[in-house]
């Protein structure tokens, strides 16, 4: 089953579909890297087209991403189970750095412990 996730950075993609889980497991959770195919993307602005460094995300692109929110509950060390309202991810480049420069919305605090420092620092709120 290919899950669809909301892309919550400003890379241009809106919806991504998970096509591979990059760990030796059946499913991925918050803080896991996955390979996604972009299913919906915003039209590329002229500025992005002109710039050399900005990533141009189009529909059908295959990219890497990290999961930042899941609707499936995650267990925290204090025994509490936490779940979000949707599934969300942030697109990454091949060096595991976020493609976008901004993240909109919440991310789970799990990211901190899976060493996604850059993502956590970009996020406006970590819960």
């Amino acid at each position: 089953m290919k899950s669809r996730l909301n892309v919550i950075d400003n890379s241009g993609a809106i919806v991504a579909e998970c096509i591979k889980v990059l760990k030796n497991a059946k499913w991925a959770s918050v803080g896991d890297e996955i390979v996604v195919s972009v299913k919906k993307a915003r039209p590329i602005s002229d500025k992005t087209l002109a710039s050399q460094s900005a990533a141009k995300i189009r529909k059908g692109d295959v990219r890497r991403a990290v999961i930042v929110r899941t609707k499936k509950e995650i267990r925290r060390p204090d025994g509490r189970y936490v779940r979000f309202d949707d599934n969300a991810c942030v697109l990454l480049n091949n060096q595991q750095q976020p493609l976008g420069s901004r993240i909109l919305g919440l991310v789970s605090a799990e990211l901190r412990f899976k060493n996604w420092v850059k993502v956590v620092s970009l996020a406006p709120r970590v819960v």
Binding site: P77, D78, G79, R83, F84, D85, L106
Partner: protein, 160 residues
């Protein structure tokens, strides 16, 4: 690194019950608001958007209908206004107090005295005035103000 939230007791967002560690679930909504649920029952009701005030086992309901509160109602403490003895500019507290505690007889005696004095003063004034009037020259006619001023003199024109 631990995500231990210092093992604090949460309160169920629906029922108001205490949630001990490793019980229940936490739901973080898209807008960031966090909701804690004691059980799948409360969680389900929350997502059905039920109003906890309508469920008589919830704390909100009980509070609203004032159930089980009678034992805890403490006697209402009445506030007593403290009276202060304050002096005013022009009258020290002693003066005010003295005035206040004057006996009626004393007061009326003082008043009578004052009245008598005033009468005396007035009699003197009347006598003085009479004397002054008697000393005025006889045949003092009464003039009206207009007569005293005199007729208006018409200003003669000397230029044209």
């Amino acid at each position: 690194p631990c995500l231990l939230h210092s093992l604090r007791l949460e309160i169920c967002s629906f029922s108001g019950y205490k949630i001990y560690p490793s019980r229940g679930r936490t739901f973080i909504r898209g807008d960031g608001r966090t909701f804690h649920f004691l059980s799948s029952k409360t969680e389900s009701l929350f997502h059905q958007r039920k109003n906890p005030r309508k469920f008589d086992w919830t704390v909100v309901f009980r509070k609203m209908h004032r159930k089980g509160i009678s034992e805890e109602v403490a006697k209402k403490r009445t506030r007593r206004a403290v009276k202060y003895n304050r002096s005013i500019v022009g009258a020290s507290w002693d003066a005010i107090n003295a005035r206040r505690n004057e006996k009626t007889e004393v007061r009326s005696a003082a008043r009578a005295e004052a009245v008598a004095k005033a009468k005396e003063a007035r009699k003197e004034e009347a006598a003085k005035r009479k004397a002054a009037r008697a000393n005025q020259p006889a045949g003092g006619q009464k003039f009206s103000k207009q007569q005293a001023r005199g007729a208006q003199v018409k200003v003669q024109a000397n230029s044209r």
